[in-house]
Symmetry: C2
Subunit: 445 residues, 2 copies
């Protein structure tokens, strides 16, 4: 029995007898000859099938083969005729002349055509058939970019000396207040799914000083938009002995390196999605008020009294940063203290504003964070001033009783970053199995 050869490795086996295994992607009938595109994890291969070469016993097979059939094909690797070369794929100069075909698993007839360059389906259909639609090369490639973003983030976090931690997702009280929280029946007790790893990563600062975590966060948002999911993946860092300017340096470094890593690893995919190279000029930094002045001056819109950036503000600021600073990123700091969570440190020079920051990328906020309150008494006052009870923060406050250095951190949403790096229309496309109020794999209503 011939050993399996990965499709990509066939490039170096011209003239040799090999066996490939994979899924039939498309079939094109040309009279007595059938062309198959076969996919495995390494790439795509054109296979030429004719009943004559297959011999008598399997002569019926070509007629029965259909997309998504799982096959092993034995044959010779040949150079393609000059006029059939496909320069867009790494195996575009070769093909296999099938001498034997083994069908390992038959596929049902597909409910829609999967052979096009894009999979042009409405979102509900894309998700109703998620096990199938994920197989389309362009859909699948979204998740190769996602895997690369995960790797890039971890590399960047380790490069700034963060240790990886695992934090719980079931908690006894809602982390940041608010109603948008999922309840769990926990052995008859009331518990919640965590809205973020925030409190736990802070508690680890006095343990490991610099930590990173990739974990789930849950938001029971009772609304359907193109940019919210009920279950997301957060990539977080938390850093001890860091003051505000250090934190800005570190967040910009981690964010840029995460995206740069994916860009370097996934060049072909980004081309396929027609994504422009990212501009990595020095990232401009503006306070919210400076940003609003800039928008007034450059774009003629007076938003100087707003408490936050609107989506249009984010778009305009990024446009300005790209043109003036050759940067696809802008950092905006000093949002109003009242609009930020209780652990956010107010600016000592003007406590109405906080030592908080958002990182914008191509018109959208992809990362946010802040310097944190590290003084126990100030933290207790901040919790109480928001009408919350310190009783719900017992283990968290303990960390501040026993010595907490100045510290801060930041947080990315993986699906959101994936969505914006690939310019997808809907965040659901950036999640293998998206969770929202209408769907848990199957539709809920």
């Amino acid at each position: 029995m011939t050993e399996r050869t990965l499709i990509l490795d066939c490039k170096n086996k011209i003239g040799e007898q090999i066996k490939i295994c994979g899924w039939v992607y498309t079939r094109r009938d040309h009279g007595k000859i059938l062309f198959l595109d076969v996919i495995d994890r390494s790439g795509m291969m054109q296979v030429v099938v004719s009943a004559i070469h297959l011999g008598g016993v399997k002569a019926h097979l070509p007629g029965e083969l259909r997309p998504q059939d799982v096959v092993c094909i034995t044959g010779q690797v040949n150079k393609r005729p000059e006029h059939l070369i496909n320069k867009n794929i790494p195996t575009g100069e070769i093909e296999i002349l099938a001498e034997d075909i083994e069908v390992l698993s038959k596929a049902e007839e597909l409910p829609f055509d999967m052979g096009g360059k894009s999979l042009d389906l409405q979102l509900p259909t894309l998700l109703d058939y998620r096990s199938l639609t994920l197989r389309h090369p362009k859909v699948k490639s979204i998740f190769k970019v996602q895997a690369s973003l995960l790797e890039g983030f971890r590399n960047a976090a380790k490069a700034i000396d963060c240790t990886e931690i695992i934090v719980p997702t079931i908690a006894a009280s809602s982390t940041e207040g608010g109603a948008e929280v999922f309840k769990v029946d926990y052995y008859g007790h009331k518990a919640f799914l965590t809205q973020s790893p925030q409190l736990y990563k802070q508690m680890l600062v006095p343990v490991l000083e610099r930590v990173f975590v990739i974990t789930k966060a849950y938001r029971a948002e009772p609304s359907v938009t193109t940019f919210h999911l009920s279950e997301i993946t957060q990539m977080d860092c938390e850093i001890g002995f860091a003051q505000f300017p250090d934190l800005l340096d570190l967040l910009e470094k981690v964010a840029a390196e995460t995206i740069k890593h994916a860009e370097n690893q996934c060049k072909e995919i980004l081309n396929e999605f027609a994504i422009e190279p990212v501009a990595f000029g020095k990232i401009p930094r503006l306070t919210l008020r400076e940003a609003q002045e800039l928008i007034y001056k450059e774009f003629g819109r007076d938003v100087r009294k707003e408490k936050d950036l609107s989506r249009q503000d984010e778009v305009d600021l990024c446009k300005w940063a790209k043109e003036k600073h050759h940067s696809d990123f802008v950092t905006v700091t000093h949002f109003p203290t009242k609009a930020k969570p209780f652990y956010t440190k107010p600016d000592p020079e003007n406590p109405e504003y906080s030592l908080s920051y958002d990182l914008l990328f191509r018109g959208v906020e992809i990362l946010s964070g802040s310097q944190r309150i590290n003084d126990y008494q100030q933290l207790v006052e901040s919790i109480e001033s928001r009408g919350m009870s310190t009783k719900d923060f017992g283990m968290y406050l303990q960390a501040f009783k026993y010595g907490m250095p100045p510290e801060g951190g930041f947080s990315f949403g993986l699906e959101r970053v994936t969505m914006h790096v690939l310019e997808l229309a809907n965040i659901r496309e950036a999640s293998l199995f998206p969770r929202d109020m209408e769907r848990v794999d199957i539709r809920l209503r």
Copy 2:
């Protein structure tokens, strides 16, 4: 203002003026001189403090300093006198003579002594004060090993060409049947926390062929033991176009490399825990029945009619493997089909037994898995034969309708591996914030 120097980097700064920042770990009073051990993320430093060197303004400080105070200390790096050298730590030949001390955050008086080599507390106290007890060097080092196991697993999974995936933890039905499942109120609908990533990773085989995932798994086990948690971290691989012998090769490779990576990276910690080097001889493979025969022959216990291995069986098999094969691992295969989940493939040669496997390590199962049923019809029959409804597996079965190759995979529990690599007495010690039926940070009753 002097820039901060990491403690470990002081080794190369003898005679220089530096500033270190960290936590006071211990204080030892010697009359007019005070010795502090100060910890930061890189190591521990002995600091010599005397009121004279600190000068008038801060002369009161040494008397007030206590463990866990957060300090920045400026002074000169000196060689220690010969008789005070500590060869057990990388900074044992130097010390700092304090000339200025800045207290960034005061700690309350500790509820127990944290200065010993081990933290000898009862488990409830260890967990009631988790934010504090995690700071003890020996407790903290458990989680450095854990981070290293995570990295080792990812490296090993990538080395066999697996792509990282993110799978959901909220599902519409319980993944593997059984009552031990947490219920979530999902926008008024009934949903569950997933018991494992099993079904999702299988659905990804036709997409990416080889995948790995690190994710949460939840088990509502209404029992308190030393080796169960309600929320665990699973490290899983799933591999397409793999037959049973391939799967055995791959699981042994991934498991051994994961542990080898942690062993290489954490030599000092493993010494501290008095852990013997792992024996990486060729891993012996036995079927369950062969293993039982061996136990009968070598250890005189007749367990030949049992359906599973007992804990004593696991201990004996590992003892045998260590002595006869210089291996701390043993692979046991072919457990009874009825004892395994519905997706486990029965051995075609004897369907009473299944193509399943456990990997034992030093007397305990740390990994398990199987070749899976990849035929749609056989899978439907297996689900129905166990009294479950195919309606609950809609999206999962879809993946098998459209072409699924022979495939299989395996799964580690991160906390369990951490526990056994470090020979901890209780799995709760291997989780930063363990979840069980009695505790969610605070005690539930």
